[in-house]
């Protein structure tokens, strides 16, 4: 049976890893500044981070937290490491920002740097590029996370599609409303059994 070997939550200007609160950010109520604080806390040196939209930043930070001290590439082949995420708002947050660069005929300057992020699956690409993962990718849009569905989908990848590790979860950003709950699934490592109810608990518990 596959296992959840680590999990994180980013919500309400707080960050939890494996149930432990590791950051309670109080300086401002701005998402961008908060994400930068987590970036610095992680000791990351990755200039591309600052070009990303909030969704990609959140997913990248989430993956970084999950993988801290856990080098998947030493355990598995690149093509066996998958990233499967879902959210409700797709890329709507940055879609609005991009739209602002084109909606006014008098000030029409479409921004390629914003446009490239107007697809929800870009966050999968950013995670894969950062870590060198060449495995399966999927991004689903759901009103709320369907833990039965994502459980089945990921088990299918592990059992039928030669995937050995999956970064999965929910990464949602829509203006001031955001939430990320991500978890790492491995075939043999981890204390939590990979089961729909356990996935549901990760979402519901306010650690």
């Amino acid at each position: 049976m596959s296992r959840i070997s680590s999990h994180i939550r980013i919500e309400d200007f707080k960050v939890w890893k494996n149930g432990e609160l590791i950051l309670d950010y109080n300086e401002t109520r701005e998402l961008n500044k908060f994400l930068k604080a987590v970036y610095k806390l992680l000791g990351m040196k990755y200039m591309k981070f600052f070009k990303m939209d909030s969704l990609s930043k959140m997913g990248l930070i989430g993956a970084e937290l999950l993988l801290d001290q856990n080098s998947l590439m030493e355990k598995y082949k690149a093509e066996e490491i998958a990233v499967v995420l879902a959210n409700a708002s797709a890329s709507l947050d940055v879609d609005r920002k991009y739209y602002n660069t084109i909606k006014d005929a008098e000030n029409y300057f479409p921004s390629p740097a914003l446009f490239v992020y107007t697809l929800p699956n870009i966050v999968l690409g950013e995670i894969c590029i950062r870590h060198g993962f060449k495995g399966e990718n999927a991004f689903f849009i759901q009103k709320e996370l369907d833990s039965d569905f994502i459980y089945d989908y990921n088990e299918d990848l592990l059992l039928q599609k030669d995937q050995n590790a999956i970064i999965s979860g929910w990464v949602e950003v829509n203006a001031d409303s955001y939430k990320a709950v991500m978890y790492l699934i491995e075939k043999e490592e981890g204390d939590i059994k990979h089961l729909p109810n356990n996935i549901k608990s990760l979402f519901l518990t306010q650690n």
């Binding site: 930068k36 200039m47 591309k48 981070f49 600052f50 070009k51 300057f109 390629p112 740097a113 490239v116």
Partner: protein, 84 residues
């Protein structure tokens, strides 16, 4: 020209989200697209928008881009030469 170069450095930093980089960190003669600033093809497209939006200039042909955007100095020279 110096004033324009300083202004351009600030605009480039802002438009390309170059965090923690100050105008003084950019040498105007240095190649913009080497490892230093890590600029890529999307950044190049944003610089084209910058020229259009802030200086009302549009490049004539694709080939010009490589020469114009080589460095901050080459951008400043182009703007000065084509100023309306």
């Amino acid at each position: 020209m110096d004033e324009l170069i300083q202004k351009l450095k600030g605009e480039i930093i802002e438009v390309l989200n170059l965090e923690d980089i100050e105008p003084d960190d950019i040498d105007e003669k240095d190649s913009l697209f080497n490892d230093g600033l890590g600029l890529d093809s999307i950044d190049a497209l944003e610089l084209i928008v910058l020229l259009d939006r802030n200086y009302d200039l549009r490049l004539e042909k694709d080939e010009e881009g490589i020469k114009v955007f080589y460095s901050v100095e080459s951008m400043a020279k182009y703007i000065t030469a084509h100023k309306k």
